[in-house]
Every structure is written in C-alpha cells, then in structure tokens.
C-alpha cells in the first residue's frame, strides 16, 4: 500500500495503516511524510513500512513486530516502549529515542540526540539494541536498566559522546568506539576493555548494521571500543534507608 501523506493528519493516516494491516497488507510506503506522529505505533504484525520524509515524534511507540525504514532524519521519542521489531534510519535522530525500550532493534546511521536509551530494560531473551553510527548527546544511557547500546562515531565529530554518560545506569551494557572522557561518566558506570564474548556480541549486530548502511565492517571493528557497565545493580538502594 502506498500513501501520499502530504497534508494528512496522523490520525486518519495511522488508521488507514492499521485497517490495512488488519486485512492482511504487508508492505507500506509512506510518501511526503512531514511530522506525522506515531507511525507504526502499537502495530503487532510483521509488516514493513518505508517512510519517505521526516516522521513525527513517538514513531514506533509500543511497536511489536514491524520493520520501519526511514529515508530521512527522525525526530524525538522513536521506539518509546517498543517491544519487538526493527527500525532502520538513514539519517540523524532527536532526543529520548529508545525511551523504556524493551525489545527489538533501532539502527541509526548518523547522530543521536540527548537521553538515548533512557530507562531501556531487558528480560531474559527480550534484549533491546540501539546502534548509532555518529555521535550522541548528553545522558547517553541515562537510568539504563537493561539492553545493549553501541555508539560508533564513524563521522569523526567531536565529542563522540556528551556529558553524564550512563548516569543512574543499573543494568545493560554500552559499547563506545573510542575513549570516553572520565569527567563525562556518570557515577554509576565504569569502563572496561572488551573480552572475547563482547567482541562476538557486537560483531554479530554490527555485521547486520553495516549491511544496512554500507559501512565497512572490518573498519568498524578495527576501532578500539570501550565497554561501560554499571557499578551496582541497585545504585540507590540505600538512598532512603537512613
């Protein structure tokens, strides 16, 4: 199904998509998108949505299954509380992407904004993954409770990651391709070198990631990664006990 979204409000457009999904449609191409919110939100089927234009906030919120490809920059709140599926963005994205994300993959070619992966979480085999090819703003992985984030800095911009990295982090793992200024680390995280298992894990995701965006896998893997994990699973466990 192809929709010309020029001048369309998000409500009728998303209803068209939901109705078509219910009647078995599997492929969607949305043209002339300009800020329509909630694209793919709450969808449970394994459909593919291609977005041409700038999608609005909270794209793929509560999404559970679909694959979304965006041929532009994204905005704020992408993959909010997403449960399953895959998002591939051929551009940069805004703030609070992956907010409370609990499964699925979010692959961004360029830069990501502030508070990426805030309060991501995991449960058993439900492990959300965010990979960004460029740089990240402040509060990367704030209050992160689970999941996996990889930041590559392939465009060489400085700084690679902003201040307050992993503030409040108490679960999950981040891999950053480069050094992190110690003064920019949250109190709740520590830096480590990668071991063999780490290399295997990131290699698996990055192979797929590089395939989508045309990055050279060997070049990506040749960088020196820093692994960040939380110091404590309960950083505030004693906050109110005195």
């Amino acid at each position: 199904m192809r929709i010309n979204a020029k001048g369309m409000h998000y409500r009728p457009m998303n209803k068209m998509i939901r109705d078509a999904v219910a009647s078995g449609e599997k492929e969607f191409v949305l043209d002339n998108i300009g800020g329509q919110r909630y694209i793919g939100a709450g969808l449970n089927e394994n459909v593919t949505i291609t977005v041409n234009g700038t999608p609005g906030n909270d794209m793929a919120a509560f999404m559970n299954g679909p694959k979304i490809i965006v041929n532009a920059n994204g905005q704020d709140g992408i993959a909010n509380t997403m449960n399953a599926g895959e998002i591939i963005i051929h551009g940069n994205v805004g703030d609070i992407i992956g907010y409370g994300m609990r499964g699925g993959k979010l692959y961004v070619k360029g830069d990501v904004g502030y508070r990426v992966g805030i309060h991501m979480k995991e449960y058993k085999d439900q492990v959300p993954v965010i990979i960004a090819g460029g740089t990240a703003g402040d509060f990367f992985g704030e209050y992160m409770a689970g999941g996996l984030m990889i930041l590559l800095g392939m465009n060489g911009k400085n700084p690679l990651v902003g201040d307050y990295v992993g503030t409040g982090m108490h679960g999950g793992v981040m891999y950053i391709r480069g050094a992190v200024d110690p003064s920019h680390l949250g109190k709740e995280v520590s830096c480590f070198d990668l071991n063999e298992d780490d290399e295997k894990i990131i290699g698996r995701y990055l192979k797929e990631y590089c395939g989508y965006f045309g990055f050279d896998f060997n070049e990506v893997m040749s960088g020196k990664f820093t692994k960040l994990i939380p110091v404590s699973l309960r950083p505030y466990g004693n906050l109110y006990v005195y």
Binding site: G34, G35, R37, Q75, G94, D95, D111, Y114, G137, D138
Partner: protein, 358 residues
C-alpha cells in the same frame, strides 16, 4: 480579556533572512501549523521584524484593550508622554477558532526630546510599557519596538496568523509560538511572544526560577504583570544586553550559566569570567526546561536550557536560518536544506543581519 486561571507544553518556530530579504507571513504560519498537536488552542502568536519600513524610526505600540475605557485611558497617557504620528486598528479578519478578541490597536510614537530629562529614550519607552501594563486597568502592550510587532492571542497559532492577516506583512525575521499552557492561564496577554522594545521571546518550557528572576528584575524597575514565566526572559535580555551592555554571548552564559563542575575545569581566564558571571548574575540564571527563540532588530538567538529538556532543531539554506521544535516544521517550508543540526544544551545559535543591511 478573560484570565480564568484554567491550568492550561508548546511549539516554537523561527526563520530569518540574514541578507534582510522580506518574506510574507504565510510560510511561518505553515511551519507552526505543522506542529499543531503541540498546542491546545489556548495561545498562538508571532513576532515580525522589518514590517514598518515607512515608520522605522518610531516606536510601534501594538495594544490590547479590554474595553473602550482602557483605550481612552491609554490614549490619554500616550498624548501626555509621546507624539503620536499615526494610530489605527490592527487589521484582522473573522477567523474560526479565534473568539472574543480584545480591542487591538496600534500607535506609531515618537518621544518628545524635552520629556527625556536625563533618561535614555529606550529607558523612557520601557518605563512607559511598565506603567501601562501595571497601572492602566485592562490595557496591555503586545509590543513596543521599532519596525517590528507582535501578533498574538488565544487560539491555535495558524488561526491567530490568519486572524491578523499576516500574509500582508513582510519581515526579515519571523518567530512563532503555539501554546499548551500548563502552569499559567491561557489569555490574550499571556500568549507568546513576550516583548519589550525590540526584544521578543517565544518559549517552550517553564522557568522554575521565575520567582527569583522576577524579584531581581523588580529591583531594576521592571513590572511583571502578564502572569507567565516567559515574561522574565524578555526583560532579562533587556537588562543584561541593553542596560548593562553585556555582549550577547555573555548574557546567554549568564542565563544558561556554566555548571560549577565545568567551571572547575576551565582555563584560568575563562574560569574567572564564568565565575564572575555566576556571582554577579546568580539571580538572572534561568532554571527549568526551555527552548527559546529571541528576536531583536539585528537578529535572532536560539537557546536551550543547560541539560536540553526541550527540543530544538536548527537549519540553514543559503542566507536563511531556521529554528524549530521539530525538523518537520522546517522541512515544511524549506524541504532542501544545506545543513540541519540539533544545537547542544546551553549553546546558542545566532542569526545575524549582515552589517551592510540597514
């Protein structure tokens, strides 16, 4: 104007031609309309610079009156303190979604030199604005700068723009606001932009330091009568840049002050400046979430709070600078851009009229 105290977030968009090209108001309306769902119909407004070239040296007062009495009292005040070159109704059209407007009138004023005494002309005009807002019942100044004006009211911004016939004005700077009031009432005087002289501010967020900022500004004679936090931002720029003559960069650093932990890591000279700014202007520090666009006669300033609790995207195309809460609002009016970026927290974006442009 009704101010019923219904507790009622926001959208901002701005555009500027650094070469001073004048653009009609239809584009900025389309841009802010793209973010319709960020507002709730309780406030919309626009600031436009370069719209009164034939009276560019006069103060253009855009007034909002509750009733004829307020208009009469204010005009008496104007006769006493100014030379009125011209006054007229601000042109409007009937517009669905815009109800019960106040009386909207504009005046082109000159300051009689013999009235100035030892004050500067701008201090004189600023005092007049404060007097009207606080002393004349039912009378509010929407804007008071030269060759600029604010057009605001209760409604969705695109409806307010149609209401004021903004397609008939040409400006080299346009800023706009769609309101979703949360802590303060939605009323005509409380719509953005907030202005004083050439300064205008559109703001998404809330200034939690409002009380401290208000008390600080009152020490310098400012009167905060508009029942909305954003008012302090306009007056702080006026105080710091116009009165205290701080460079704009330093004024911005005073408002979105450097964190002490970052000051500790600065080079000695920078450290001294940053420390002095925090010490002298502690009460001017803006706390709480904000993304703002400040307009003035020579340019625009975009600024986020220090930890970026509100969104802002900036873009350039040739001599045009765009800033908005969402990239889509920029793409709506400028699909092909040379550069698009998200300004970092507390880091200003400047649009500046080229020096050769008068």
């Amino acid at each position: 104007m009704k101010c019923d105290g219904i507790p009622s977030g926001c959208a901002i968009s701005g555009m500027m031609s650094e070469e001073g090209k004048r653009i009609d108001g239809s584009a900025i309306i389309r841009s802010i309309a793209c973010m319709h769902d960020r507002s709730n119909g309780l406030g919309g407004g626009f600031a436009a610079y370069g719209i009164y070239p034939r009276r560019r040296d006069m103060y253009a007062f855009h007034m909002m009156y509750d009733n004829a009495q307020a208009k009469e009292n204010t005009e008496e005040f104007f006769y006493k303190y100014f030379n009125i070159d011209k006054d007229e109704a601000i042109p409007t059209r009937k517009q669905k979604g815009v109800a019960n407007p106040p009386i909207l009138w504009r005046y082109f004023l000159e300051v009689p030199v013999n009235k100035l005494e030892s004050r500067s002309e701008r201090d004189y005009v600023s005092n007049a604005v404060m007097k009207i807002n606080s002393d004349i019942e039912g009378s509010y100044v929407a804007s008071s700068g030269k060759n600029m004006g604010a057009f605001k009211g209760v409604g969705y911004p695109e409806d307010i723009g149609e209401f004021y016939k903004l397609e008939e004005y040409s400006a080299y700077i346009w800023t706009s606001h769609g309101r979703f009031p949360t802590n303060t009432p939605g009323w005509w005087g409380g719509a953005h932009p907030f202005t004083l002289l050439d300064w205008s501010v559109v703001h998404n967020g809330e200034i939690s330091s409002y009380g401290i900022n208000k008390r600080y500004l009152e020490m310098f004679g400012y009167k905060l009568e508009l029942r909305t936090d954003t008012e302090v931002i306009a007056y702080l720029f006026d105080l710091l840049v116009r009165s205290h003559k701080l460079p704009v960069e330093k004024a911005v650093q005073a408002l979105a002050a450097t964190f002490w932990k970052d000051i500790d890591r600065m080079e000695p000279q920078q450290k001294k400046i940053a420390t002095a700014l925090r010490q002298v202007y502690g009460s001017a520090l803006l706390n709480g979430p904000f993304s703002i666009i400040i307009g003035h006669n020579r340019g625009v300033i975009g600024l986020n709070d220090r930890i970026k609790l509100r969104p802002m995207t900036a873009a350039r195309k040739d001599d045009m600078l765009y800033m908005a809460s969402e990239e889509s609002a920029i793409r709506e009016i400028a699909p092909d851009l040379d550069e698009v970026w998200s300004p970092r927290a507390g880091t200003p974006v400047f649009g500046t009229l080229r020096p050769e442009v008068e």
